[in-house]
Symmetry: C2
DNA sequence: CTGTTAGCGCTTTCAT
DNA sequence: ATGAAAGCGCTAACAG
């Protein structure tokens, strides 16, 4: 019996009530109590009532830890992201948490901070805590994914833009489609000389956006002028360098598509400084829909990743494959073009 | 039936290696294996080596679930926020996760979506999962906090702007100071008629910002003109209504402080539509430093909450009080004034 | 319909 | 220095 009340924090070490207490209080066997708690097996109405009352009176909450140990199932899933402070991952986490909660799962949150060693730690912790599955955004060390599945048997869903996928479930964003639609939009707007500030020319980076760019041109019957393609690095400063090259061409482009928003914004700002009007003299489209894209004065038309959907579909896939093991499955999600003012679309029927 | 070597996911049900396997492999007793794993008690160098090798060879990862059951400690803490998709909570979560990880704890993430019933569910789940403590942002149902501590013995740290605090640890933001500094800044800039679009006149809302507003005026020897105070609701549309009242006064204010950014931005935009220049004709200061505040064209001077610090200090306090129960402790954090263009500060020595 | 019992994987006395 | 055994809270056969 919890003796004289001591109101200092944690002082009393409130011993938690267990199923044993409930059973004793209701004067039944532990297993009977368990039956009513889990609503499994036969139990007479009268007994059920007594047990339920005991539960209420004692304020009993089942210990999932004990249950998990027995059942080898924790109803927890791990989420691995680079950094939850980044709004992109935050939105992903929101989707994952919500989908998980709706299905009776909780989410153990871990951050890699972009470091391979820390990613390893995340995995170890999650394995130790016996999560039923992991949602893993853009693994740094791809081999680790396979190792986890092999060594621990934990189901993994990888969310990534990369093409490669081994035996695990994958949620992939159709970058090629995104690029295709962006370029196609520019073509619809009448452009034929469309520059591309591209992903690095390195097999480590997926070349999906490049493929989309080329496909859009080809399908429109436009021959691709290789001078209009300048490789970027995705990093700061790279958009600047690239647009300088493009604008220096004998026949400069009238529009430019960029493999990410960062480079697009730099390109815009450089062009403006050179006296070009956006979008009248140069139309610009980016990729990612990061925060700055929607800022007043930027208003960048860009390809948005379906962040929320990625998280939700990831969680759904993971949890359903937990109930009934699925063979390696790949889901392709479509990005969407967000039309703002940098592409010239709103010029057609608005103010000049 | 899952037949011969099926490489489909989860088909093989990789049985996890346990301490028993390690013990057998190293030819020692389970308790000995346990000793080396936990580096506790005596164990000969030779035996230790054997066990460590077994661990490596088998890829053994201790099962924290089993350990937790025995030790009544999970090294998990629960985080309750309104909505992790909101960048404010995301930053908080980032801080919490980092501080927790550095101390060997993991974070179980839960969202209330602002609903009392869901908040209840969060608590139940966290209690069931036996978290060692909870970091709880702005509880909807304050009584629930006390109930949790009483019934489950779980230590709670509440992060809030409200004054009230019962027996639990609290991280509080000094809203009064924030408001004081905002208004004081306007006074320094030469304003004497400073309007206030205030928090609702409802005891359910803390009146800290109001106190700060009044104190700043008083300390500067300015008599508070009650006409200059208009109550807002924190909601959309309310800033608009309020600024209309203020600008309609016989002697309208030359500056206005707003209890949150939303109302401040509405006020700015209304004033501009009426032909007033910001900050020349009307200086505006907000509260919160939400995303839109820093947008080009908005550039709102505002009071920023020390989000990261709140999370970090919360986690630190929680974890240290887990090791050694502390009596109810309260921490007061200072917000900071972020000076942008809406207050006129940069007019003094810049372009007119 | 209800109770008894054997673990889940681990830590922790208590012997040896 | 090492091992045997009890038990954390719960579920799931298996008897009755």
């Amino acid at each position: 019996m919890p003796s004289a009340s001591n109101h200092s924090l944690g002082g009393e070490m409130a011993v938690r009530v267990t199923i044993k207490d409930v059973a004793k209080h209701a004067d039944v066997a532990i297993s009977t109590a368990s039956r009513v708690i889990n609503d499994s097996g036969y139990v007479s109405e009268k007994t059920r009532q007594r047990v339920e009352q005991a539960i209420r009176e004692l304020g009993y909450v089942p210990n999932s830890i004990a249950r998990s140990l027995k059942q080898k199932q924790t109803f927890s899933i791990g989420l691995i992201v680079t950094d939850i402070g980044n709004p992109f991952y935050a939105e992903l986490a929101q989707a994952v948490e919500r989908a998980a909660r709706e299905r009776g799962y909780s989410v153990l949150l871990t951050n890699t901070d972009g470091k391979a060693s820390q990613e390893k730690d995340c995995v170890t912790v999650l394995a130790a805590k016996q999560v039923d599955g992991i949602i893993w955004y853009s693994p740094i060390n791809e081999d680790l994914v396979d190792a986890v599945m092999r060594d621990t048997g934990i189901t993994v869903v990888v969310i990534t833009g990369k093409e490669r996928h081994m035996g695990h479930h994958t949620i992939r964003i159709d970058d090629q489609l995104g690029a295709f639609e962006a370029v196609n939009h520019l073509i619809t707007l009448g452009h034929t000389r469309i520059g591309y500030i591209a992903e690095p020319d390195d097999p480590k980076f997926p070349q999906e956006r490049m493929k989309g760019y080329r496909r859009a041109l080809t399908e429109a019957g436009i021959t691709c002028d290789e001078h209009l393609i300048v490789r970027g690095t995705y990093q700061e400063g790279s958009g600047l360098k690239a647009i300088r090259v493009l604008l220096g061409l004998k026949e400069p482009p009238t529009a430019v598509f960029c493999a990410n928003d960062l480079m697009a914004i730099e390109a815009m700002q450089y062009a403006r400084r050179k006296g070009l009007r956006i979008p009248e003299d140069l139309a610009v489209v980016g990729f990612d829909d990061t925060k700055p894209a929607c800022l007043h004065g930027i208003d960048l038309t860009t390809v948005a990743q379906p962040t929320y959907e990625m998280g939700r579909e990831g969680a759904k896939l993971l949890i359903s494959s937990l109930a009934k093991p699925l063979s390696s499955r790949q889901l392709l999600l479509r990005p969407t073009l967000v039309i703002r003012k940098s592409c010239g679309y709103y010029l057609k029927e608005g103010t000049p």
